[in-house]
């Protein structure tokens, strides 16, 4: 994800001229990041796959609007907007609110890293991850977006600003509120957590 495509500018140029294969090389490079972003925002795998696919189609059709800079941030911006469209659609026709969904990881969540040491540790780690994901999902969507872009996707403040259209000050304050929100939420499951949480809660 963080690795860069060496010939990315050339690929973008070729894709702009209609070279679909060049564009698909970019897709393969960014699809995990885009899917993860969309999945974390929407919280639902099926919808996330649809929205991610749409985002790449939109990106291809609007390649001429890309004006240099971080291509990843540009693609993420398109994916982010597609997510907002999807959320708006859901609000208009509320089927299931993603915040109310049970932890998606039970049946269809992301595969866990395969190097689980012991079954007990693996189970505990899985439980912790579920708690973290629940806490992220509990955030307001605008905070969750910034948090996902920063702490899951690894974008810096400027890239987040580029991806969301927010100014740097708003990125900074939303991210801090999102982190504080997750941190407060995680205290509810302190027995799972590293000692820093437990020490803290004993004092209060």
């Amino acid at each position: 994800m963080a690795s860069r495509l060496e010939n990315e500018p050339a690929l973008i140029q070729a894709a702009r001229r209609g070279d679909l294969e060049a564009f698909n090389t970019l897709v393969l490079h960014y699809q995990d990041g885009v899917y993860a972003l969309v999945y974390r925002i929407l919280g639902e795998p099926a919808a996330a796959a649809d929205v991610a696919q749409d985002a790449f189609i939109i990106a291809y059709r609007h390649l001429r609007d890309y004006r240099g800079g971080s291509f990843r941030a540009w693609v993420f911006r398109i994916a982010t907007n597609a997510c907002y469209d999807e959320l708006r659609r859901r609000k208009r026709r509320p089927a299931t609110l993603f915040d109310d969904l049970p932890g998606a990881e039970a049946d269809d969540g992301p595969a866990l890293a395969a190097d689980a040491p012991t079954p007990e540790q693996a189970a505990q780690q899985a439980e912790l991850n579920r708690a973290i994901e629940r806490c992220i999902r509990a955030l307001q969507s605008d905070q969750r977006l910034v948090l996902v872009l920063s702490d899951i996707e690894g974008l810096n403040y400027q890239e987040i600003a580029d991806s969301t259209g927010l100014n740097l000050g708003t990125v900074k304050s939303r991210l801090s509120r999102a982190r504080a929100g997750v941190r407060a939420c995680l205290q509810a499951v302190q027995e799972l957590l590293p000692s820093v949480y437990r020490l803290n809660s004993e004092r209060e």
Binding site: L28, Y35, A36, F56, S176, L186, R203
Partner: protein, 316 residues
């Protein structure tokens, strides 16, 4: 969470973790961290939070999102703004133009057989232009145009239903974008003729498609005072269309009974459709009203635009 920390403190801590504080801010915060254990503990908690989030197992795309040639094909008419607002505005403008054109043609061409009712003059036009709900206007004029185009409005409606999907299909096929516009151009002048069945079908198709749009949106007609007012003069020629539309769209026409009485269908000039746009028995159009026809043409074009953008938007 320590109670004495402000949102600003959290912002500073969060930015500090990311290394984006200014030099002065960083020094100030580090000085405070030395003195304030609460602040220090909160910093560590936030740091742990970020580490935990970052440590979530990576999500992988469940499949490849590479584009097929089909997906990559650009939508036609991409240069058009395909927003809902654009479609709505062009549809509204088209409706106004068509309505004005029809009113002009009908009122100027008043023959003994189909004398325009007094109310269908300037006040009616003004009324129509200021009608608040543009959907009402649209539907009213759909009805109007359908019925005005042919006495056999039911037939036209059947045409319309069949043709609407066909039109949509052909647009979807994406062959030549001029086709829909041509289809609109052709019937527009003839559509004003009360006795011109074949063009009526074409016009009906266009308005039929529009009708489907409106019905898709789940609109049910709730007669507002202006609409009801308008229906009375309009009913002189509009009744059949209104009735058949009502059957399909749960419309409840308010002023139809009286209207039916006043309607006097004119016989067709000949059993077979006349290709010439000026059939002798229609003295109304022996001297065609240029302005009215121009308005109809422009309205038709705008409507084609509205339909095209709607179809494109639905696809994407």
């Amino acid at each position: 969470m320590a109670r004495d920390l402000t949102p600003h403190d959290y912002e500073q801590l969060s930015a500090y973790l990311d290394g984006v504080l200014s030099e002065a801010e960083r020094r100030a915060l580090e000085a405070r961290l030395l003195d304030e254990p609460d602040l220090r503990r909160e910093l560590e908690a936030l740091r742990a939070t970020v580490v935990l989030i970052h440590g979530l197992p990576p999500v992988k795309a469940p499949r490849d999102f590479t584009l097929t040639a089909q997906m990559a094909r650009p939508p036609r008419l991409l240069f058009l703004p395909t927003t809902a607002a654009f479609s709505a505005v062009s549809a509204a403008a088209a409706t106004l133009l068509v309505a004005l054109g029809l009113v002009l043609l009908l009122s100027r061409s008043g023959s003994p057989a189909a004398a325009p009712p007094p109310m269908l003059d300037e006040p009616a036009v003004a009324l129509q232009m200021t009608m608040p709900a543009e959907q009402e206007t649209t539907k009213q004029n759909m009805t109007a145009t359908l019925a005005a185009a042919t006495p056999l409005a039911e037939m036209a409606l059947e045409f319309a239903e069949a043709a609407a999907s066909a039109a949509q299909d052909s647009t979807l096929q994406g062959e030549d974008q001029a086709a829909p516009a041509d289809a609109m151009l052709a019937p527009a002048p003839a559509g004003a003729l009360p006795e011109a069945p074949p063009p009526a079908g074409t016009l009906g198709r266009v308005f039929g498609a529009q009708a489907e749009e409106a019905f898709d949106a789940g609109l049910t007609r709730t007669p507002s005072p202006p609409a009801a007012l308008l229906a009375q003069p309009a009913a002189l020629t509009f009744t059949p269309g209104a009735a058949s539309l009502a059957a399909q769209a749960t419309m409840t026409p308010t002023s139809l009974p009286t209207a039916t009485l006043t309607r006097t269908p004119r016989p067709s000039p000949s059993p077979t459709p006349q290709p010439t746009p000026l059939p002798p028995p229609a003295p109304a159009l022996a001297a065609p009203d240029g302005l009215g026809i121009v308005l109809l043409l422009a309205g038709g074009l705008l409507l084609a635009l509205a339909l095209a953008t709607t179809v494109i938007r639905r696809r994407s």
